[in-house]
Structures are given as structure tokens and as C-alpha cells.
């Protein structure tokens, strides 16, 4: 049983939430990107989390979290009439990424809250350990 496994749980969550923040940042940055390496306009990306066992020998079900996969949204792209755009089709419509800025903002706030909560957890665990070290000290 690893006493310090609890810190790994919080650390895994911090890492996962940071990964989520990264995808949100690239979504925001590419809100108008009509060309990508794989061809076609940029599509909204999202992360999928899954639990991961931190210490399999520990009898307590300690479960951290990891980014299982990054998915690409298959929602329809936005169509905007702009005949002068180099990526416009014959009818003059341009396909823009299927990103909704409000949705991204809400996601970002949720990621940030979750990150904060895990920092709080980390600090609380640290204080508990420090308190245990003070036992018996006059």
C-alpha cells in the first residue's frame, strides 16, 4: 500500500483537466480555420475521460483519471455565404468549423473548476500528512 498514492490521484486529474483545456484552446484558436493537414475545415475536438487504477495492491479503490481518447465532432459544419473566399464552393458557400464559442467557454469554466477542486484536494492531503508528522511533538 502506497501512502502517497493519493497524490497520484490528484495529479492524474490535474493532468487530465489540463489536457481538456488544451483541446478547448485549440478549438478556440481554430474557430475560423478552413484548411487542415487532413483536408477540409477544422472539426471540434473533445476529450473522453476514463478511470485508471492508481495502486492495484491498495485495498481501497483508489481511482485516478486519464484522457482515454480525443474525439472529433461529427456535427454538421457551419455554412456561410462568402463567394470571395478561396475555399468557397461553386454556390459560393464556405464550410466553417462546427465550433460554438459559448459551448467552449462553458467547457473551459468546468475544466477550470475541476482543476481548482483537485488542487484543493492535493493541498488538503498534504496538510493531513504534515499533521500526522506533528504527532507527539510538544
Amino acid at each position: 500500500m502506497d501512502s502517497f498514492a493519493i497524490f497520484k490521484v490528484s495529479a492524474s486529474a490535474l493532468e487530465a483537466q489540463k489536457g481538456r483545456m488544451n483541446t478547448i484552446a485549440s478549438n478556440m484558436a481554430n474557430i475560423n480555420s478552413t484548411q487542415t493537414e487532413s483536408g477540409g475545415p477544422y472539426r471540434r475536438k473533445d476529450v473522453v475521460f476514463s478511470t485508471t487504477s492508481i495502486d492495484s495492491k491498495d485495498p481501497v479503490p483508489l481511482q485516478g483519471v486519464k484522457v482515454e481518447s480525443v474525439t472529433e465532432s461529427q456535427e454538421p459544419l457551419k455554412k456561410v455565404y462568402d463567394p470571395g473566399h478561396p475555399d468557397a464552393n461553386k454556390e459560393g458557400f464556405v464550410s466553417l468549423p462546427n465550433i460554438n464559442i459559448m459551448e467552449e467557454m462553458v467547457n473551459m469554466m468546468m475544466a477550470s473548476r475541476a482543476y481548482e477542486a483537485n488542487v484543493t484536494t492535493f493541498n488538503m492531503s498534504k496538510n493531513m500528512f504534515l499533521k500526522a508528522l506533528e504527532l507527539g511533538r510538544v
Binding site: 498514492a5 486529474a13 483537466q17 475521460f49 483519471v65 477542486a117 493531513m128 499533521k131 500526522a132
Partner: protein, 122 residues
């Protein structure tokens, strides 16, 4: 030695266990399908304290009840659409409460040790 040490040890052990569970819950606040876990702390502790009152020799001695992995229960809160039922605020408030109890336990244990030290001085 009086039973105080034993009880305080139980409190510290149980709060440590519960802290781990709550930390896992908070880490998995956005994991689809995750079910929040908790330890029904009050009943566990009550059994322990009740075990102390033994007024007759014929009474059964209270056996120390230790909260273990077997007492861990899934939370029965209704899940979100992704099957996750962690409520961040509930978990954080529980964690604060739990950490305070832990601190109370360690403080009392320190005081107890201090008392014995004082008694041994002269």
C-alpha cells in the same frame, strides 16, 4: 493503556480512508459512468464508541469495529446523462469536514501523548 488511543487511531484510520475515496470522486468528476463512493462514517464510529459502555461482567465486550474496504458504498444520487453522479460541491464539503475530523483526531492524540509525558516527568 486506556482505550482512548485505540479510538483515536480508528478515527485517524477511517478519516484517511474516507479522504482517499473523496479524492477519487473529485478526480473523476467528469468521467462518464463513474459512481461516487463514500464510507458511512457515522455508523462505524457509533459502534466503536458504544462498545465502551460495559457495566456488567456478563455484557459482551465491545469488539473494535474498524471501517474497512467492505463498508465502502456507491452513492445513490441520481446520475447525470453520462452516468456520472459526482457532485463536486458535496464532495468538497465532505472532504473539508473529514479533514477537520482528522485534525481533531491528531490533535487529541498529540494531547494524550503529552499528558502521558507529563505524568512520567515526576
Amino acid at each position: 493503556m486506556d482505550k482512548g488511543f485505540q479510538i483515536l487511531e480508528q478515527i485517524i484510520q477511517t478519516t484517511t480512508l474516507r479522504h482517499k475515496l473523496l479524492a477519487s470522486n473529485i478526480a473523476n468528476v467528469d468521467t462518464p459512468g463513474y459512481k461516487a463512493k463514500d464510507l458511512p462514517f457515522n455508523t462505524v464510529l457509533k459502534d466503536q464508541v458504544m462498545g465502551l459502555s460495559r457495566t456488567d461482567a456478563n455484557h459482551l465486550a465491545g469488539s473494535p469495529v474498524q471501517a474497512g474496504v467492505g463498508d465502502v458504498k456507491d452513492e445513490e444520487r441520481a446520475p447525470w446523462e453520462d452516468g456520472n453522479n459526482v457532485s463536486l460541491d458535496t464532495e468538497l464539503s465532505r472532504m473539508t469536514e473529514n479533514a477537520l475530523l482528522y485534525e481533531a483526531g491528531t490533535t487529541l492524540l498529540s494531547k494524550k501523548i503529552q499528558m502521558y509525558k507529563n505524568a512520567l516527568k515526576r
